[in-house]
Structure formats: C-alpha cells, structure tokens
C-alpha cells in the first residue's frame, strides 16, 4: 500500500470516529450546547481539556522550537504548564461554583455592568480569533503534506469536519470528540518518540532517554548534542540564557495567559462539582505532561539525528553530497519547508551557524561560504518518522495526530467565540427575553459564522496570525485573568475599577507589542527595531503580558478605592463563589 493510502486510512478512520461521536452526542438544550450538560467526569474533562489546549503549535511546532532554541525554550514548557497551577487554585473551582456558561458571564455579573461584559467579550474574541487562525493553517499544512490536496482544500476539509460536530453537538459533541482526539494525538506523538529514544539511547521512555547515554558514542546524550552543535558554530543546546529577567517575565506571561484563556476556562464549567474542577485541573496537567515531557526529548534527539544525516562521519568530516540525500528531504523540499542552495559549489550540503563571528574562520578554512540548508522548525515532528526510518504506518499516525491537535483546539475556540456571541451579546445585552429555543438557534448560527470567519482568515492569514504568543497570551494575561481573579479574591473591586483595569491593561499591552512588531502588525510600521537594546528594561514584547497584568491589578484597585464599594448583593455573590456548598443549585438558573 502506498504511503498516500496509509495516510488516507489513518485520517479517514479518525474522522469516522469523530463523526460517530458527534452523532451520539447531539446537544438538545443550551446547557448541553454551552457546558455539555455539566456532567462530564473530571478525568474525561482532563483529557478533553488537554486536547483543547494542545494546539497545532504544541503538536507540530513545539519540539522544533526546542530543537533550535535549547534551554531558553524551557520558558514555553514551564509557562504552558505552570498556568494550570494558577487555574486550579485561583480560578477554576470558583468559576465552576458560579455555575454559568461563559467567561464574560462571570465578569458581567460580578461587576454588575454591561460595559464590563462587553469589554470581556471583545478581549475574548480578539484572543480566540488570533488563536484559531493558527489552527486552521496548521490543519491546512497537515492535509496538504499528507493527503496531497492543496492547502486551501485542506482548510475547507478541516472546517467541514469541525462544522459537523461543533454545530450539532456544541460543547457536548466537542467534549467527547476532544477525548478521542487526545488519544489519537498522544499515540501519534509518543510512538515515533519511543522509536527514536530506543535507537539513540536504548531507553524506551523519551523523557528518561534525554538524560541518558547516547548508545553510539557512549557519551551522555546532551553532552553529545552539545559537542556536535558546538562543532558547527551553534550555541550549546543546554547553554544558559543571559537575560534571565526577560526569560522569567516571559514564562510568567505565558502562565498567566494560559490561566486566562477562555476556551480552557470554560472546559471547567462542564464538571459536576467544585471538588471535580480541582481534580480535573490535575488530570488535565497529567495528560498535557505526557506530551510536554516528551517534547524536549523529541527536539534534542531529532536535532542530533538531522545533523547525523547531514554529517554521517561527524561534524568535523565532510557533509553528504546533495544527490545522496535521503528521500525524506526530497519529499519535504516539495513543500518548501526545506531549501538547499549550493553556495560554495561543492555539491555538498553544509549546515552550520553562519551568523557566529567566532566560527567564521573555521568555516572559511573548510571552504564554506554560508549555511546551505534551511530546515523549517515544523519539520522536526512531521518528518521525524521519516528521518528515523520508521515504518509507513507511523507517518500515517502523525498525519492523523497533527490534524487531531488542530481540530480539537479549533473546536474549543469556536465554541468560546459562539457562546460569547449568542449568550453574552444576544441573550444578555441585546435581547434578554430570547427563548431557550431561539438562543439555541442563535448559538448554532454563531458557531457557523465563527467557522466561516476562521476558514476565511485561515485562507487569507492577516499579519497578526503569526503573533499568537504575543497577542493571545498577552491579552489573556493583561485583561481577562486579573479581572477574573479580582472578582473572586476581592470584594472591594467594583465595576468602574474592573473596566478601567481591563481597558488600561489591554491597551498598554497592545501598544507595547505594536511599538516593536508594527502598528496593527502592518509591516514596516514598527516604532523601534525589535532588538533587546531597544526594549524597555529589557522586556521583550512577548514577555509584556505579565506587566500588563500588574498594571491591570493596580489600576483596578486604585479606581475601586477612589469610588464606591460594590452593592451588598455583589459582595454576597463573592462570598457564595468562595465556598463549594450549593453549586448544584447555582447551575439551574
């Protein structure tokens, strides 16, 4: 059977599974549509949340980012997991007790203000729309590479599949397909990693192999990798970073941003009890850790494998001849993700760091005239099975896994967007008298609209699509997280304070990002070059979310203390979300 048909089989079988689940889990009420009826087991929810959270970027790009960035990229690993500690202790249990459907629901009720609800809806839509574009284009890449369709056809297929289970099933359909998608993606991620860890270190557990011994050389794996990359002028994989302050702030921004992502928060509205919300956060992190503990091993091992392919006799000997390159390089050249240019005319493939001035004399001595091979980070995971010569079915599995990761996150984001429109805008702001049946229809129509918008943006990605980390995490950290936390932990913060805090936090963060990355991300409009010497106190635009959060807290407290205390009913509401007792009753509103 050809590779194409193997891929078709794996992807087709996974789709059949998702459709089957969608039919079984149709939503019959708004409560089922928004929060899956509120009866999801904490372990089931943990698995669904893990799939909801782990996006195309986590699955496809993260290991590649680690492979090229080394230790410095620990900020991603810690930031994207440490946020769950904040979520578990500072938000999830109380928001579950509050027992409503959306994130703006809590902000609107707690701050007794339509304005606050509206600001929250705007932040939510900015976050989720930015985030969903990456999922659509990720699905497009996976489809076009593995199923030999065009990128845009891939995006349309992805939209069609999500449409089937998200429009009919709502949160209920999404929850159970996410569980299936988690299983598909974790198997797909783990199997090639286990093979490669076995080949390189003899240890079947990649996370242990990373700190194990490289079988061929007898050296510790990380020592071996450091030596190889050093011989090619790159920085050591384990090298420490100079600007620790910025790394810490970046990690903190990712953590706070993660805890403030609406599509993750609403997943905790689906469990039966407050105690379940606490456990469920733990289960979520277990399921995420299974991938995140493997990712650095995949990154390090794939980089070593790649360099070993290019320099079969070691980095001090000659590189391979271009015509002798392995087949996987030829297939990936067609996608443009690998490019080779014979700069010194010796028809060999030199891969090295040509930006390192200290290494330039070595390169000159060896007759190298610049780095000749450009490998896109995303290839590390997608081509991993081929680089390691694994059987064809593993490649099919990776195809299904990449698509599962993109679809599960896209569906969660689309639900957050559509619930904000049908529940917060239509039911709570525009027409409070809307009937249950009409709200359900509005929810389905909003979902359809959101899918069409995401598809269109996936086909015509705007400049900000590449700025998910800055934009989505920055806004979540600077606007939603502080408002939610103050709503629970302070009885004194009032509507004026919360609105002022969110608006000022949002605007300062956006302005700081725009100063360095271009106003509204229009190329060439940046006020300063995005280099460390220009950054305020050495804080990169990606790390500014945490500063935005601090500004939000400060402004909200200052304004609240200068104005009147919230009404007694609101203070009672805060009391009530703080204790689990009576959560069941709260849900039936």
């Amino acid at each position: 059977m050809s590779q194409f048909w193997i891929n078709m089989l794996f992807v087709g079988a996974s789709f059949a599974l998702y459709f089957g689940i969608a039919y079984w889990a149709r939503a019959g009420s708004t409560k089922e549509f928004y929060v899956a009826g509120g009866g999801v087991h904490p372990i089931t929810n943990g698995m669904a949340t893990a799939a909801d959270w782990m996006s195309a970027a986590s699955f496809i790009s993260m290991a590649g980012i680690i492979a090229s960035g080394g230790y410095a990229t620990s900020a991603y690993l810690m930031g994207w997991t440490g946020g769950y500690v904040l979520l578990a202790m500072l938000l999830a249990p109380y928001l579950r007790k509050f027992g409503k459907f959306t994130v703006p629901d809590f902000i609107g009720d707690r701050f007794y203000s339509r304005g606050a609800r509206l600001v929250a809806v705007i932040c939510l839509i900015l976050i989720c729309v930015t985030y969903v574009i990456g999922q659509m284009s990720g699905a497009g890449v996976a489809f076009s590479r593995f199923l030999e369709v065009s990128n845009s056809a891939g995006i349309w297929i992805a939209a069609g599949v999500v449409f089937v289970y998200a429009v009919f099933g709502g949160m209920k359909g999404i929850t159970y397909t996410q569980v299936a998608q988690y299983i598909v993606l974790i198997i797909a991620y783990t199997i090639p990693a286990v093979f490669i860890a076995m080949q390189l270190t003899g240890n079947p557990i990649p996370a242990l192999g990373l700190f194990g011994t490289h079988v061929e050389s007898g050296l510790p794996l990380l020592d071996k990798l450091d030596t190889v990359v050093r011989d090619l002028g790159f920085q050591d994989f384990t090298a420490d970073v100079g600007n620790k302050w910025n790394m810490a702030l970046f990690t903190l921004s990712l953590m706070i941003g993660t805890a403030g992502l609406p599509h993750v928060i609403i997943r905790f509205f689906t469990v039966p009890k407050v105690a379940d919300a606490r456990w469920s956060a733990g289960w979520t992190l277990i399921f995420i850790a299974l991938l995140y503990l493997t990712a650095p091993a995949v990154g390090a091992m794939a980089r070593l494998n790649l360099l070993d392919t290019i320099y079969p006799e070691g980095p001090k000997a000659e590189a391979i001849r271009f015509e002798e390159r392995p087949n996987w390089m030829k297939t990936w050249e067609e996608t443009g993700l690998i490019t080779w240019e014979d700069k010194n005319g010796d028809s060999r493939v030199q891969l090295y760091n040509d930006t390192n001035a200290d290494f330039a004399p070595v390169a000159a001595e060896r007759g190298w005239k610049g780095n000749e091979l450009v490998v896109n980070n995303d290839i590390i995971v997608l081509a991993n099975p081929e680089i390691a010569n694994l059987p064809g079915w593993v490649v099919g599995l990776i195809a299904a896994g990449g698509i599962a990761a993109a679809l599960s996150t896209a569906a969660g984001l689309l639900l957050a967007i559509s619930a904000a429109i049908s529940h917060d805008l239509i039911k709570n702001i525009i027409n409070p008298k809307i009937s249950e049946k009409s709200e359900m229809l509005a929810a389905r129509l909003s979902m359809t609209g959101a899918i069409l918008l995401a598809t269109w943006l996936g086909l015509n990605p705007p400049g900000f699509a590449a700025q998910v980390v800055a934009l989505a995490f920055g806004i979540a950290a600077a606007s939603l997280f502080p408002a939610l936390m103050m709503g629970i932990f302070s009885k004194r913060v009032n509507s004026k304070g919360a609105v002022a805090g969110m608006v000022v936090g949002l605007i300062t963060t956006l302005v700081y990002i725009f100063l360095y990355l271009g106003w509204f991300f229009i190329p060439g409009t940046a006020s300063f070059a995005n280099t460390p010497e220009n950054w305020l106190f050495g804080i990169s635009p990606l790390a500014f979310g945490a500063v935005g959060a601090v500004i939000n807290f400060a402004v909200a407290y200052a304004v609240s203390l200068a104005t009147e205390a919230p009404p007694q009913a609101i203070q009672d509401l805060v009391e009530s979300v703080r204790t689990p007792k009576g959560a069941g009753a709260a849900l039936d509103h």
Binding site: F211, K244, R278, W279, R578
Partner: protein, 87 residues
Amino acid sequence: MADAEKENAAAYWKANVRLITWSLVVWAFVSYGCAIFLRPLLSGIAVGGADLGFWFGTQGSILAFLAIIFFYAWKMNKLDKEFGVEE
C-alpha cells in the same frame, strides 16, 4: 447568613488563601528559582549530561506543578469537609 456561619466561611477562606500562598511559593521556587535564577548556583549538580537547573526547566518544574495541583485538590477537598462547606 447567621454570624456563626459567616465566621466559619471567613475561616475557611483564610485557610484556603494560606494554602494557595504556600503552594505559589513552591510553584515560583521550582520554576523561577531552580529553573531560571538559581540555575548558575545549581550548575555543579550534574543530571545526565546537563545540570539540575536544566532538568528543572525541561521536566522538574512540570512534575512539581503536578504535585502542587494534586496536593491542593486533596487538601481543599478535605478542608471543605472540615468546615462543612462541601457539596
């Protein structure tokens, strides 16, 4: 709400905030401490071809986060019963 009930709720919340504070101290120590700022201090401790700080950055802090969340969930669910505020 009766006064006794109010006092109980306040004591429960105080216990929760205290638990959260200590959990966050550990959370910050493993990530911002061991994995970032204290890495040079810990560089003498070798872990399989790298150092302890590198291990905390790639694996140790994630494992610690898991321990913190499960400890918090267990402890809070116990506190819920002690204060009689469970569902």
